[in-house]
């Protein structure tokens, strides 16, 4: 029963994406933007190397806007329409509803990412890349999207207004990016001790995502993304409990 509840919600949410044109619009925009960043901004061809570095490098920035666009309605819509009352009076635990809705959106993002497969074909056709590094990059990208999504899930529970949810989520994610972004850490290291800079940077998705891009599957990086997801979903649960308690 407990797994059944989660799976039923995943199925419903996922089906919900594909009955509306919004999902297809999202997929098209996602693919166009990844293509644009990889080939035009990332100078894929000029680099002259058989790798997807120029593809993955942009993901933290691309996801900054695209993932909150997917996650912003998760709970705010349920609150606005009153379906939250319906959902949470069904015989399931609140965490099952949170997990189900999160997983559905994550699967949707994974589908979007999977649709970038032509880039793998291209790079393999043109040269002889290390496909292990590419696989590790994809794993990192899925985890990155998952942690962004969990943050959006949390902000969407805070408000019934999707726009506010979107903006809040972009702000939090921007912080998670910038605290490990090289220009920012350089600036920070001018007046803070290297240990402090390291600690701050350790909170950033950038430092952890970089390792995946280099083909290093470090359990610490996996744990980092898993804990961001866990923490954000747990906070979502706390927010929803607070809403219900009034």
């Amino acid at each position: 029963m407990s797994r059944g509840g989660v799976m039923t919600i995943v199925k419903r949410e996922l089906a919900g994406y594909f009955v509306s044109p919004v999902a297809y619009v999202f997929l098209v925009i996602f693919l166009l933007l990844t293509g644009f960043f990889t080939f035009t901004v990332g100078n894929f061809f000029e680099r002259g190397e058989a790798s997807l570095v120029s593809f993955f490098t942009w993901h933290p920035w691309l996801y900054l806007f695209l993932v909150p666009a997917v996650g912003m309605r998760l709970w705010s819509e349920e609150r606005r329409l009153g379906t939250m009352e319906l959902l949470l009076t069904l015989p399931i635990a609140t965490w099952q509803a949170i997990l189900g809705k999160f997983l559905a959106s994550w699967i949707f993002l994974a589908i979007a990412l999977a649709l970038t497969f032509p880039v793998i074909i291209t790079v393999n056709w043109l040269g002889d890349p290390d496909n292990g590094v590419i696989a590790s990059g994809y794993v990192g990208s899925v985890l990155l999207a998952g942690s962004y999504l969990a943050v959006s899930c949390m902000t969407s529970a805070m408000t019934r207004n999707q726009v506010i949810s979107f903006i809040l989520s972009v702000l939090i994610l921007l912080f998670l990016i910038l605290c490990g972004y090289n220009p920012v850490t350089d600036l920070l290291s001018r007046w803070a001790s290297p240990q402090v800079v390291q600690i701050v940077a350790a909170f950033s998705v950038m430092t952890h995502f970089e390792a995946f891009q280099r083909g290093i599957l470090d359990s610490r990086d996996v744990v980092f993304f898993a804990s961001v997801i866990g923490f954000a979903l747990f906070t979502t649960g706390v927010i929803i409990r607070g809403l219900r308690a009034g």
Binding site: G4, T8, G16, L81, L90, P91
Partner: protein
């Protein structure tokens, strides 16, 4: 089936529900009446486990809603206020989802969906998406969701809100029919509905229960309950009033209208139970005086009058003529 003890809910400094206790057994239909903002919805949300109470106990089918919410929720079908549903789904998809969430599988699910569709008359819109439906159909879709698992307990927040008179009638009959072997709570501010469907009524005002009884008991609290109005021709209203006032049972006489041709006068008995005796006495009097009686009406008492007298703030009661 439902046992609520000393329920309290505070929203910040505001007390929404204040020490509410009641029981609902199988076979009972409990009508929840009260002005807007009286705490009806809040109470129902606590009974269904959507919001936790500040204090008090809720037991549903023997399960404590706070300690053991999942088995308790399994027994309940709930129609929330404004009948929310997932607008992007078809009626069929939505009901299937509800059945699946209730762990109804395979053939049983098909049967459950068909049964709910039939009971709520949704056959014509089964494969339409919910956001294309009229308000009445949307409402009935949510109603269908609440009865999909044939629950022992039904909680409905304004189940007839937004329906047309025919649909209202159907839903009331449905509630009455289902009430025979379920425990049902529903809220409304339509007073005839109470008569049409309830076996018991609770009136709640500013978070407190102010009346609890059968519809008949409550109606008898009306000051008009048991009164007899007669239309008599060939006599003046003053004469008629005087003669009626002389009857022992009569506590008060009111002249309702007077024309040269006829007079209409209402006599109130001392207690509503004296109505049959009063009718006999009035008829005897008229026969004895050889007046011509045109019409005789007895009053059962009016709900809206009882409702107003109970729920109006004291200051407004005084202001009323």
């Amino acid at each position: 089936m439902i046992k609520v003890e000393n329920l309290v809910k505070n929203f910040g400094p505001k007390i929404a529900v204040n020490d509410v206790s009641f029981n609902v057994e199988r076979g009972e239909v409990l009508g929840f009446l009260g002005p807007n903002g009286a705490g009806k919805s809040t109470t129902m949300r606590m009974v269904t486990g959507f919001i936790p109470p500040t204090a008090g106990r809720i037991s549903v089918g023997g399960y404590d809603m706070l300690a053991n919410p999942i088995p308790a929720k399994r027994l309940i079908g709930y129609l929330p206020e404004n009948a929310p549903s997932y607008a992007d789904m078809t009626v069929h998809g939505f009901l299937n989802f509800a059945a699946e969430m209730r762990a109804i599988d395979g053939d049983a699910r098909k049967r459950a969906v068909n049964r709910a569709v039939e009971m709520c008359m949704l056959e014509n819109v089964l494969y339409q998406t919910i956001d294309t439906l009229s308000k009445g159909y949307r409402h009935r879709t949510c109603l269908a969701q609440s009865i999909i698992h044939d629950p022992d307990i039904l909680v409905m927040d304004e189940p007839t809100d937004g329906l047309d008179p025919n649909q209202k009638h159907e839903v009331r009959n449905l509630i009455k029919r289902m009430g025979a072997n379920k425990a049902i709570i529903f809220s409304t501010h339509i007073l005839e509905e109470v008569d049409a469907a309830c076996s018991r009524v609770i009136i709640i005002d500013r978070g407190k229960i102010v009346a609890n009884g059968t519809p008949d008991e409550l109606r008898r609290r009306s000051h008009r309950a048991g009164a007899v109005a007669v239309v008599v021709s060939g006599v003046s209203a003053a004469q008629l009033s005087e003669a009626l006032a002389a009857i022992d049972l009569v506590a008060k006489v009111e002249t309702l209208s007077e024309t040269p041709a006829q007079a209409i006068v209402r006599a109130h008995p001392q207690t509503p139970e004296q109505k049959p005796a009063l009718v006999r006495a009035v008829l005897d009097l008229i026969a004895q005086q050889q007046w011509r009686i045109e019409d005789l009406r007895t009053e059962e008492g009016h709900f809206d009058e009882v409702f107003r007298s109970i729920t109006l703030p004291d200051t407004m009661k005084e202001a009323r003529p």
